[in-house]
Symmetry: C2
Subunit: 469 residues, 2 copies
Amino acid sequence: MGWGDLGVYGEPSRETPNLDQMAAEGMLFPNFYSANPLCSPSRAALLTGRLPIRNGFYTTNAHARNAYTPQEVVGGIPDSELLLPELLKEAGYTSKIVGKWHLGHRPQFHPLKHGFDEWFGSPNCHFGPYDNRARPNIPVYRDWEMVGRFYEEFPIDLKTGEANLTQIYLEEALGFIRRQQASQRPFFLYWAIDATHAPVYASRSFLGTSRRGRYGDAVREIDDSVGRILRLLRELRLGENTFVFFTSDNGAALISAPEQGGSNGPFLCGKQTTFEGGMRVPAIAWWPGHIPAGQSLSLAGLKPPRDRAVDGLDLLPAILQGQLMDRPMFYYRGNTLMAVTLGLYKAHFWTWTNSWEEFKQGIDFCPGQNVSGVTTHTQEEHTKLPLMFHLGRDPGERYPLSFGSAEYQDALGRITPAVQQHQEALVPGQPQLNVCNQAVMNWAPPGCEKLGKCLRPPESVPEKCSWLH
Amino acid sequence: MGWGDLGVYGEPSRETPNLDQMAAEGMLFPNFYSANPLCSPSRAALLTGRLPIRNGFYTTNAHARNAYTPQEVVGGIPDSELLLPELLKEAGYTSKIVGKWHLGHRPQFHPLKHGFDEWFGSPNCHFGPYDNRARPNIPVYRDWEMVGRFYEEFPIDLKTGEANLTQIYLEEALGFIRRQQASQRPFFLYWAIDATHAPVYASRSFLGTSRRGRYGDAVREIDDSVGRILRLLRELRLGENTFVFFTSDNGAALISAPEQGGSNGPFLCGKQTTFEGGMRVPAIAWWPGHIPAGQSLSLAGLKPPRDRAVDGLDLLPAILQGQLMDRPMFYYRGNTLMAVTLGLYKAHFWTWTNSWEEFKQGIDFCPGQNVSGVTTHTQEEHTKLPLMFHLGRDPGERYPLSFGSAEYQDALGRITPAVQQHQEALVPGQPQLNVCNQAVMNWAPPGCEKLGKCLRPPESVPEKCSWLH
């Protein structure tokens, strides 16, 4: 979902009354970033509080490449990483993930091995349908075992866009909240819905209801579901005792526009890029009675781990006292530091959208947008003299500052040491997204035998994954 | 000011707390249009309720040209037009215009000859400074007489951007409201500030306070001023008895970006164009106690004139009962119908931004945006087979519908008769913006003799005005 997809962020059709209301009751972050312009690395960062370059969710197979966790990827979240639910367990929390995990689908990467107590959802994206011969359909898990596959037990009609997955995920969420309230135990719910990810889907009752097409239908269903979750929390008198945070794992994927792509508002480009459209995302904090609200680690009375670098910040000072949090934002593709933002200045060390080859095939991450020398289709190096933008005057990254200006020199003088400090202290994690192997796909997830749905894997042939952009 | 310039419309720096609050207390229109992508014609339409093609605020000198009222223009608002203050006079209202008039600067076009009872402001834009030889500086009027000129008695520092005009205009507004309240007479205040028009200016106390540069400073001063006007209305217990409407006369002028240009949010291009960025504008209605509010003509118990075509709508059903107003929107340049929107479908009959010659000189109405075949630099005719966009799925006008699709055919089938009906009933007004003459400039406005500031006009040489885009 993109920055510009909610009414409260300026979506002109204004079809998100529940999220807009959540923002009105809570705190809106117009200046919030995902850790990566792609799903898996961003989610790994969300749960570990560490940049993908540290937690291993990146590739070194080629320069400046985005990578994620398709079925054939061998890697996943390392055991050495501490996830939020693992930390929360020490404080007595029960944790559930509903929806897309995306941190690896092989047995050792299972969410219940990484701190979660319950899971309903899928390990990978809901791509498909596949023939179950060259490639299996993606499994849907309940806790340890597969309970079916997308396009089979969990249908998605690519033609009409109909799928009732968001409703299923909603029921899972509401049921979990009710059970936790009944047992009077603290809980962490990670509600990782994916209806706005292509192939975009919505339930029958939402299909065709948006002015924005199918993507809008999916946004409306998510908005409605968030409203129902917040209402349940209030009904159960949990509202004042529950911190709720809404955000996205990357900007809207403009390659899927217009029918299946969202909006990044006034920002440049979208998902896959390190321009603002790729990583500036909607974010709303809600905690009635404490409005504005607080940050989850501190809320549970925990301290972040001290044996490793944590990029995540305690947002409490921002949320409770309105303090401006000003720290550098790092934009990576693979292990390449593409850009950094410090205060209102963003410096690009590399510019690239995607290759001419891809672009000529119609794969466009910046449709309708073209900033000469900025949205480049060759990898352009600016490490010596970064391209610099003032994100206040120029949020759309259209007007590079003049290299000779005092403003440029001053900003660069502050950015350079911040980058040096970051790079000198950086201990990259073992890259998890370098090796692919058809044999590791979801051929025979646990539980498949009960369903009679085990498939025969091909011979194991590890190979370098090919990451195109 | 552009659609995307207010926090409530998604401006990322969120620096308009007063206008955002006005929207929260009133009604926001995400789908509101000015009648023209340029100042004078749009303001003429605002005050007459009639499209510029009817009220004469257009040119026929060349095909599809924008025109306005610079000092040398001969024309202005025809006596035959009925302006809002003229209608309101029948209902006992006192009317004042503060700021830019822009409907003609020759004596017969004076606002006090067209229904206003008071005026403080200028007849033309605050361009300058001029040498008072080839071209006089623009006068500032109090009622019938000039009280000084821009860059002289009313300084604007082009280097620092400092001018206290918005504060002067604010005091004029507050004083008028106080006097009307004291005399218990109904009033209409047309507060036509122009601080966001290049050369952009702000008062010293606002300069440098925005994250958005000088343009943001101007927006912040306007926002603060609106807050002060609304507070005064409440203090005087006029709030529940006063309808307030905030809007802009066209989209942000992106040619002035980034330092002096605003934001049109997710929309294509800006001022001067008939894309959404040129004509979709912010609009907020406010009327506490009646929230949401009402429309001014009906509010005063008046009926619109019946002897002429009125394009303006009674917005009361939308504002009081939330009824969707669905009628065609017509986008003109000069007397050329460039585009029409019906429901969510927009059909372009002509596409043009500006000429290659201008564009190559750096005059860019769509910086960073380039939609092939849409943001054209030659005038492209599509009258037979219009370029069509779905503004719900594609508010940025990036993805023309396929000509062969059922959706295209269906939309065109509804648009064609609406356009026919419009064109058949259309009685164009006498074009006012065709003739220019250096002799009609503001050489010796009334009152100049008292100030010793009368200038000698050159010989009268009427000629065709040259409108470049």
